[in-house]
Amino acid sequence: MEEVVSVKNLRRIYKSLFPRVRVVAVDGVSFSVRRGEVFGLLGPNGSGKTTTLRVILGLLEPTEGEVLVFGASPRSHEVRRRIGYLPEKTPLWSYLNAWETLTLLGRMSGVRSDVLKKRARELLARLELKAPSRRVGSYSKGMARKVAFAQAIIAEPELLILDEPTGGLDPPSAAEVKRILFELKQKGTTMLISSHILAEIQQMCDRVLILADGKVRAEGHLEKLLEREGFLRVVLKAAPQDKERVLEVLQGAGFEVEKVETDTVELDSLFLRVLGRDVGGSGS
């Protein structure tokens, strides 16, 4: 399968003359993201996630190593035309409204005016950005985040780089964002997601890379990484009082049972159910 992002032996060192500082942010990182894949980048604060993303975006030059996006330098205009980026912070122009922000950045991405207007209208409606004529500066953090998300996908990019995509969003909005991401995934959009919300990564990503101190600690298919060798999880449709009987049956069949407990839903699913909304394709 075609490699959309290829990172080989990436090393990035920050240096400053005054005060004299030398920080190795990323040290010998290699990985690749294939077409149509959702790739997760995990790691604690200061592990080099943002640096890696910015090198991939062409905002920073690697100190050593090679980074190719769509087989070319990430600084090339052709590559940038095919990328959508959601930064971790929400750096929007406070004096523009949501509509102006989306159309401005869409035009900069080279989207045709009529297509752009249609997409902007759809996105504003889907993300429930009421009063699109209100200035972004007066928006709540969550609303501004939704505008930032919308600008990342307005040009329908082939590669979507998302830094904390649902950070600061309320559960219904986060669910809608996830739903949009699932739709994009189904359309074949390649995604590179960096997030602290592990459940989110688990729900969405096919493969993950775990970074710590700028080095790769683990990489692979999520299912493989999460698999507990020699253990099997069985979910049965049964009443809570049937616990003992289930245990007896399984032990009688010769299985070593670790625990039998009542299944629970995730908190965000409960929250959405209480609000009368469906998580839909989020997979929760």
Binding site: K15, A25, T51, R81, P91, L92, W93, G110
Partner: protein, 429 residues
């Protein structure tokens, strides 16, 4: 490019500061016209000239500040990433920003010039004469007359009505030695400077000194006896004139020349057609219409502003918002005052010791590198008239175009690989 320009325009229009600046420009520009002038004929030119200077300083400085904060602020807040991850090249970004800020500056100028034009056409500030008659008089304001009268125990019958001048448009230049002739250049140009010619004694000098003080201007006394000519600046200290060292005797002539407006706007040094520095403003030709003069005013300021906007963007390309504002201010003052510093450096160099000479030579060389923005004064244009100045204007436009292009190219080079990104990201990491 256009998207970036539109972004800058929106930024300005939605910032309260822009509207405050627009109101200030509208108020400041005609306020400068309120400077009184010694003659009705001089009034329009002098006032326009002062207005243009104030406008130029205000708008150019404002433009430098706005430009210095655009890219720098976007970078500091992280908004720059949203642009730089899109297929927009750095040149488009730089030129788009320049275009946006320059348009803002031009709009501010339009406000200022419109305000000047309206004031000139609707108020009492409208000049009495656009073209002075050949036989003209200098009318002093009543307040000035009272001040002069209170100083003088002398009987000056003609002072109650007017001072007569010029006595001659041919003779006065010959009264001064060649090296001083540029100081009364205006006489060649029907400039309504005030010239007195006396064959009298120190009393005339005293009268002149008092009038000079009352008008807040400088005066030069020229004493001619036979082949000997003495020139001395006339000053008034504690309402007493400095008397000439050489008394006027029979057969001698004393000419006093008042240098109008050298004190209120005396910080200006301009070059006349002969390339000599003049301290007094060179005034408008008779043929220049109000519209023509306002056009010149506008043109002069616009041309000046181009370079300051570029300088501001140069700062913004590699400095933080606060530092770039400071640096842009510094550049503005350097460019604005380069020719004054240059001139002072030349003077000091001629008179000082060895060390002073080295310092002043260094200053002179340094300031000669950045002369364009400061030297382009509207008064020089006004003096020469429209028809004569087509080549001059083109020359200046190309001069400023070159400066602007060089500065923007430098900004571009710095912007493509900005070292500040490292610092910013380091902080974020």
């Amino acid at each position: 490019m256009w998207e970036v320009a539109v972004l800058e325009l929106r930024r300005a229009f939605r910032a309260p500061l822009f509207w405050v600046c627009a109101v200030l420009v509208a108020a400041v520009a005609p306020a400068t016209l309120a400077f009184s002038a010694p003659t009705a004929e001089a009034a329009l030119a002098v006032r326009l000239e002062v207005a243009s200077y104030v406008l130029a300083v205000f708008v150019a400085f404002l433009s430098a500040l706005i430009a210095s904060r655009t890219i720098a602020t976007d970078r500091a807040t992280g908004r720059l990433w949203l642009i730089r991850t899109r297929p927009i090249n750095a040149a488009s970004h730089i030129i788009g920003t320049w275009l946006g800020v320059f348009t803002i500056a031009v709009l501010l100028l339009v406000v200022g010039v419109a305000s000047v034009a309206i004031t000139l056409n609707t108020s009492r500030l409208r000049p009495l004469y656009l073209a002075p008659p050949s036989n003209w008089r200098v009318v002093l304001p009543k307040a000035t007359l009272r001040r002069v009268a209170s100083f003088l125990p002398l009987s000056i019958p003609h002072l109650n009505t007017a001072l007569v001048g010029p006595t001659s448009t041919k003779e006065p230049p010959a009264l001064l030695p060649e090296k001083e002739q540029h100081r009364i250049l205006w006489l060649d140009q029907s400039n309504p400077s005030i010239v007195f010619q006396f064959n009298g004694d120190g009393e005339a000098l005293r009268l002149c000194a008092v009038i000079s003080a009352a008008l807040k201007t400088d005066a030069v006394a020229t004493l001619k006896t036979g082949n000997i000519t003495k020139v001395q600046k006339v000053e008034l200290h504690d309402e007493k004139p400095v008397m000439l060292k050489h008394p006027v005797r029979d057969g001698a002539s004393l000419t006093i020349t008042l240098l109008p407006w050298s004190r209120p706007v005396g910080f200006r040094l301009w070059r006349n057609e002969r390339g000599l520095l003049v301290t007094a403003p060179l005034l408008v030709r008779r043929s220049a219409s109000v519209t023509g003069q306002i056009f010149y005013l506008w043109l002069a300021v616009v041309i000046k502003t181009t370079i300051f906007v570029a300088a501001g963007i140069l700062c913004a390309a590699f400095l933080s918002p606060a530092i770039s504002s400071l640096f842009a201010s510094f550049l503005f003052f350097l460019f604005s005052s380069a020719h004054y510093i240059h001139h002072i450096g030349t003077e000091v160099s001629a008179s000082g010791g060895a060390f002073t000479k080295i310092i002043s030579k260094t200053v002179t060389v340094l300031t000669s590198v950045v002369p364009a923005a400061g030297r382009f004064q509207p008064a020089a244009l006004l003096t020469k008239g429209v028809a004569l100045n087509a080549s001059y204007i083109l020359d200046m436009l190309s001069y400023f175009g070159l400066y602007t292009a060089v500065i923007l190219a430098l900004a571009l080079l710095l912007f493509v690989k900005p070292p500040h990104e490292v610092i910013l990201l380091e902080r974020e990491e």
